[in-house]
Symmetry: C2
C-alpha cells in the first residue's frame, strides 16, 4: 500500500496530531477505513501497478461499495483522468495489499472516464449503468 | 449535511483546486463518495443531531461497510471519543440527508468507544464482535 493520502487524514476540529492519524489509518487484513482506501494500489494480472483507488462510491442505504474510481494519473500516459469500475471488477490481493483488475489496459483506457473539470452526474443512475454495461457486469442496483 | 471534511479532500498529487474537490464531493440521493461520507450528520429518532460519521470501516474484499465510527465530539459532553456502531444500526434519512440511530443516548455513551490516544485493534475480529454483541446485532462476518 502506498501512502499518498496521509495528508487527507486531518479530521475537522482535530489538531492533526499523529494520534489522530492513527484512527484514520486503521487497517487490518480484512477491514480498512474509508479514509484510507483511497490511494490503495491497483495492479493488473501480471502484478504491474496500473494506478490507484481515487475514491469509492458507496450506496448510502445499503453501505455497499458500488463503484471504485481509479486514477491512472502518472500511469500509462493517461493523464489525470478517473475511471469508474464496478466494484466486482476488483479483487483484493493479500500479497500486494492492493486490488487486482483483470481487464486489458486498452479496454480500461477506452472505458468511461472523466476529468476533474467534467465530473459525471451519477444521480439518475444512467452513468452507473453505462459503467456496468461497458464492463459487462450485473448492474449495481440488481446486485443488492 | 455539514461540511467539516472539505479540508480532507485534497488528493495526493492534485493541486487542490475547486474542480478537484468537485470529484470528491460527489453525492446523489443514493450514492456518496467515501471521501464525503465522513462528516455526515447523525440524528436520534427525535431528529436531534447527536454527532457525525467520523469514518466507516470497509471490508476490503466484499466492499461492504461493516462499522460506522461516530464522533460525539462537541455533543453531549462526551469529549473526543469515537463510537463504532454496526452499520445496520444506521438508517439513512432523505429528509435530513443524514443517518438516524435509534439507540438511547445512555446506551451509546456506555458502548464501546475509544479516544485518539487508544485506538482499537480490529485485526483479530474480537473488537468488532464486541461492538456487535453490545448492540445485539448479527456479527458482520455472518451478515455476508
Amino acid at each position: 500500500m502506498n501512502t499518498p493520502n496521509i495528508a487527507r487524514n486531518g479530521h475537522a476540529g482535530s489538531p492533526g496530531t499523529d494520534t489522530t492519524r492513527d484512527v484514520s489509518l486503521s487497517e487490518t487484513p480484512s477491514l480498512i477505513a474509508a479514509s484510507k482506501v483511497n490511494g490503495t494500489n491497483v495492479y493488473n494480472r501480471a502484478g504491474d501497478s496500473i494506478g490507484s483507488i481515487y475514491d469509492v462510491m458507496l450506496d448510502k442505504r445499503t453501505g455497499r461499495v458500488d463503484y471504485a474510481i481509479m486514477s491512472f494519473g502518472g500511469f500509462l500516459g493517461m493523464g489525470e483522468h478517473y475511471h469508474p469500475l464496478p466494484w466486482n471488477a476488483l479483487r483484493f490481493d493479500d500479497r500486494q495489499n492492493g486490488y487486482i483488475v483483470d481487464i486489458d489496459i486498452d479496454r480500461l483506457k477506452e472505458g468511461p472516464s472523466f476529468a476533474t473539470s467534467a465530473t459525471p452526474d451519477w444521480s439518475d443512475g444512467l452513468y452507473g449503468r453505462r459503467v456496468d454495461d461497458y464492463y459487462g457486469v450485473t448492474p449495481a442496483t440488481a446486485r443488492r
